[in-house]
Each structure stands twice: as C-alpha cells, then as structure tokens.
Symmetry: none
Subunit: 188 residues, 4 copies
DNA sequence: ACGTAAGCGAGACGGTACGTCGCGTCTTACC
DNA sequence: GGTAAGACGCGACGTACCGTCTCGCTTACGT
C-alpha cells in the first residue's frame, strides 16, 4: 500500500481505511473482484473517491493490504502446516470463494497458490524420498501436492465446509503422503 | 461467439477471423490477456476496429471461439485420458502459460479446471473404492486428483516441458492412483 | 443525381427509384429529413442498402431528384407568379412543412428561398420605383418581398391551408405592392 | 445546457466553457454548424473530448447556452423593437450569416424566426387594424412582417451591413407599417 | 424464346463520430 | 493535516452510419 499503516495514526485515517476495507470485502463477495470499481468501493464506504487514492494506489493495493493483515494473523501461530490457513479461510470463506473463482483475480490466485505451496512444501519436504533417477521429479510431486491442497480447499469452499479444518488437515496429510510417498518403488 | 463459423463461409470472413485470432494469441502471449484491448488486437491484425465487433462481442467472445476450436480438435480423438490434452497444450504452451498465470483470466482458469476435472474423473472413476464411511469423500479425492493434474500441468509449463507428454501421463496416472487408492486402509 | 433517369429505362430501375422516392417522402414527413438515414429509407422501400448507392450519392441526391421533378412540373406552366408554386405546395404540404421547419434542411430552405425570390422578383420588378437616393434600396425591398412570400407560405402551411391558393396569391400581391410601392414618398 | 452556469463558478469551469464556446463560434463561422463535430471543437479549444461531455450534452447544447447568453444581453435593454437585436447581430454577423444559411441549422433558424416574430409583433400590434371580414387575416400580416424582418436581416448580413442598425430599423418600421396598414381599404 | 448482361440482394469492410465509463491526478475550500 | 467536492486528461468501450466493394442469383431486354 502507499504508506504503512504504522501503529497509531490519526483516528480519521484509521476510520477511513477501515470503511474502505469493509466496503471492499462486501462488494468483492457481492459482485466479484474483477467487476469492482474504485467508485463502487468509495460509494459503499461513503468516502470521497479522491480520498481513496490518498490511501491506496488502486483496488489491488487495497487487496494487498488486506492480504498482509491476514498473513500476519495466520503466520504468527503455532499450529503446524495448513491448519491455520484453513481456519482462517473458514472465517472468510465467502471472500476466498469469490477470489479464487471466475470472478476473482489471477494475481490473487497465483499468490494463493504460492502461499499454499510454501506451507505444504515445509510439511512434506522431509517425507520426500531422495531423488532417484527414474522416479517422479521432486518438483513435480511438490507441485501436485500444492495443487491437491488447493483442490481440497476448493472442494471445501464449494461444499460450504462440510467438515472441520482439523479433519481436512488430516485427510490432506494423507494425500500429501500418498503423493510424496514411495511411488514407483513397488516396481523394484 | 456471435455466430457459428458455419462450415465454409465467405472467404473474407474466414480471413478476417483468422487474422484476429492470430493477433489475439500473439498478443496474449506477449502482454497477457488481462491487459489486452480490442484496439491492440485489431491493430496487430490490421483490421478495422469496427470489423472486430462485427464478428465478436468482445475479447472474451474471441477467446471463447478459440477454446471451442481447441475443444473440437482434442475431444474427437482416441487416446485415453489427458494425453490428448497434454499434447495439445504442448503446442500452445505459451498461450496456456499466460492464461493460467497472473496475467491470465479467472474465467479461463475455471473452465480449464472443469475440463481437466472431467477428463480425470473419467479416468480415475473406476479406480475409486466404494464409498466407506470413515474414508475420504469421493468428491474430495476427485477434486484433489483434478488439481494435482493441474499442478502437474503447471509444473510442466513452467519448466518448459521437461518431459514428453506420454511420460507425464504415466506419472500422472500413478499420482491419480495414489490419491484414489486405498488410503486410510493402512490405518487398520 | 448520379445519372439522369433518361426517358425509358430498365423496368427494375424505375421500380427501385420509385420505391426509394416514396419511402423517402413518407419518412421525411414522419421523422424529418435531418433524422433520416439511408438505412431507414431502404428498409421502408424494401430495397437493399447497396442498391440505394447504385442510384443516388446520398439522401441529398435523392432530395435533389425530387426537387427537379417538382421544378419541371411547376415551371412549364402558364399561370403567373407564385400561383403555380402555391398550388404545388398545397399538394405536398406535409413535405414542405417538414422541410422548412426545424427538422428540415438548411440547404433546402435556402434553395426554396432563392426560388421564391426569383418568382417574386419577376412579378414585382416592374412595380418598383426608380431608385431614389434616400429611399429604401431596391434589393432590400426585394428581399423583404421574397421573405414576406415565405412568411405567407409558412403561415399557410402552419394553418393547414386556411384559404385557396388564388386567395393567398391575391393577398400576396397586395403585400408585395405595399412593400414595393411608394414608400417614403408621402414625406414629400 | 446541462447545468446552469450559476453566477460565479469554479475558475477552471469558466475557463473551459469559455474556450469551448470560442472554439465553437470560430469553427461555426469557418466550416458551418452542420459540419461541426465535437472533436473539432475540443481540438480547437485544446480541451479533452470527454471534458466537453462533462459540460454539454452535444453541440446543440452548447449552441443553446450561447443563445441564452445572447438573449440575456439583448432582452434586458431599453431601446425599442428590433434595434437591440440588430445591434447584437451586427457584432456576431459572421455567426448569424452562417447559422441562417445553408450550412446552418434549421432548429436555430426556427428559433430565430420565432424570436424575430415576437419582437415585431409587439411593435406592430397597435398598428394593426381591427379585424375586418374581407381584409387580410391578422396572423398572415404578422407572419409576413416577421419574415420581412428576416429578409431585411438577411439582406443586411449578405451585403455586409451596408447601413447602420438605426437606418435599417427605420426602414423596417416603414415596411411593417405598409404591411400592417390599411390594405384593402382602397378597394372600397 | 431465349441467352445474356443488367440489376439486385446480401453483406463484409474501412472509416469516422458518437456518448459513456473508469482511471488516476489535480486544485480548492472546509474543519 | 485529512477530507469532500469535483474538474480534468486520458483512453477504452460498444454503437451507428457512412460509402465502397465483391459475389452470386434473377430477371427484364434485345435479337
């Protein structure tokens, strides 16, 4: 974003930013991120359009800020692997459903994929076998694991969270292991 | 698209549509689908802008037509599962790399996911075990398989196709089996 | 017009031109000349648009042809002064009302003025006094007479012809005489 | 116009509107109102095209504003009858010459006629005789007077104002009287 | 009467102007 | 200093007409 929302700021500033962010989230859920305009956001937030630009470069900048807040919330925790992520997604399910769907944004999707991959990579790294010549490439496995995680998340979102995050985390770890595991070994 | 390009049409029409489609593909690769404008396309194609609108509603309509052509080419073949798809992607690697990346389009990505899912579903359906009570839901497995396929494809595209489509298909079938397979059983 | 409709032409040609002219007149009355488009005319005439251009340069050309036909009808007669003109206008009152009104055309109005002036000039020329130094300029009187004729015609058209052409001609000659007459003389 | 240019507005607004109006007048004189495009006007005024639409609906709206300004200037004065109007026209002779000519606009001509008629009606109303049965209808006389006034103005404009407005006003009043006067009486 | 050249329908195409929308920058005045 | 209000330049959008053109079909005309 244009300027870090350093600790304690002017009260009006905090109020404005909050109004904008709320409007942004609401509207993203309602009509999709792609179709959003800055005017939409400011009208909903009852803030002048030029004020928006004093705080953000554009709607992507606002999204960025939101993601950073999310990141700080989820990163600084203890639970292992994707559990925190899932818990967080559970709360903002509507938002994620839209952002990852056809009315969302490819930048966001990309970023979310990378984020997912990072989390899964740390989890499954130790489980991966030493690279063998004729076996599946490690990178391929990792990519598949990360995307399988995405797939599970997508399924979870579409079904309106049919199970607890813990349950899904467990299932996911099984799937990860299956992919990372001793594939191709049996052939020996 | 606005009108089906029924069989053999006016020669000029075929020429115009082809020029537009080529320009569209080139420019998508060069600067991304999201940043494309109709004017960009028509200038590259050396076609008047108003002529564009005589054939397509907008750039999405043009994309749609392209996808339909692709679909017809890949659907009517014999090879099983995703092999045809991979072969096809191999030829348009640049295009897919962009469209599925951050400069692509979420609608396209969605559609591609669904297409992928359909192909994998048919392949792995028979491999799926009967639904057990405490095992992973079938839909979850399917979603993971489809996304793992996507992940493999993404890896393949990013690495600039480090292996043959046949090789990747083989690896993918292994991964599919691993996900579809008797997970949770070992716990017994 | 593009080509003189020389005497006897191809039957199809005559038919097409007639259809176009009729449609043109109807539509001019209905929605005004200014708002007319070539497409309007050809659709009403049930003639292909490109056929229009085979016969006329544009809608002005079509108008031109119509005026020429009118001219030939009214010019080659015996009655003196503006009587013939008024009789003719009486028949096409709707058309003239529109063409001379706010939805008409300034070119047409100009032409009509000149035509009117020519007719009145011949009538009142002999009645004009010899140019005196301090009297009204002859040209001024003529212009006023011509425009007064226009005004009478406009009044006639607006009121939906409240009197016979002959009656109006008589009144007009009185007015012409009054303007042309011995103005300023009384001062002597 | 879209919005009244209430009293004192934003300086930039006044500047923009003025530039547009000047460009409009210049170009109208140069190439005629009919052939004017919005782009012509904005390029001459060195103003962005979309800014034009922020102030006016179209070129007719701009014309309207100009006419209103003119009206306010000429209406609120003391001199009797058409003298003010003639004085005003004298200053914008080029503009009026074009607007009333073949490259002008029929709406404008209509409006100008009505305006002229209004002014002459007030002047000559008292001079008109009581309506007699067989005499010229009052409305006809009025229309002729108004148009004669137009004719005089046209003559004045075409000749590049060969006399003073006062002189023309005098002549016009003579003509008006002649038309309004005791016509038809002599026949008795 | 009949073959043929024309008139014609259909519609693609390049052009130009339109009026609208969203963006990001800016200035001014208020509080 | 933050904000409201809103003018402005910029540039893409999709639409509407224009006038030109090519391509076959059909139809009235000339021999």
């Amino acid at each position: 974003m244009t300027q870090k929302p350093e600790a304690s700021e002017d009260l009006r500033v905090r109020r404005t930013r909050k109004l904008l962010q709320q409007a942004f989230i609401e509207l993203t859920v309602e009509k999709g991120f792609a179709a959003l305009t800055v005017r939409d956001i400011t009208e909903r937030a009852m803030v002048n359009r030029s004020t928006f630009y004093r705080h953000y470069l554009d709607k992507y900048d606002l999204l960025e800020e939101y993601l950073n807040e999310i990141y700080e919330l989820t990163a600084s925790q203890d639970a292992p692997g994707p559990l925190n992520l899932l818990k967080h997604i559970q709360q903002r399910a509507d938002f994620y459903r839209v952002m990852l769907g056809p009315k969302g944004d490819p930048f966001f999707a990309q970023r979310f994929r990378q984020n997912t991959e990072k989390r899964f990579r740390s989890v499954s790294a130790q489980a991966l076998p030493e690279p063998e010549t004729d076996a599946l490439p490690v990178d391929l496995r990792l990519s598949c694991i990360a995307y399988a995680g995405l797939g599970a998340t997508a399924w979870w979102l579409e079904q309106e969270q049919p199970c607890s995050p813990e349950q899904l985390t467990d299932w996911l770890s099984q799937i990860s292991s299956a992919i990372a595991g001793p594939l191709h070994k049996p052939k020996r």
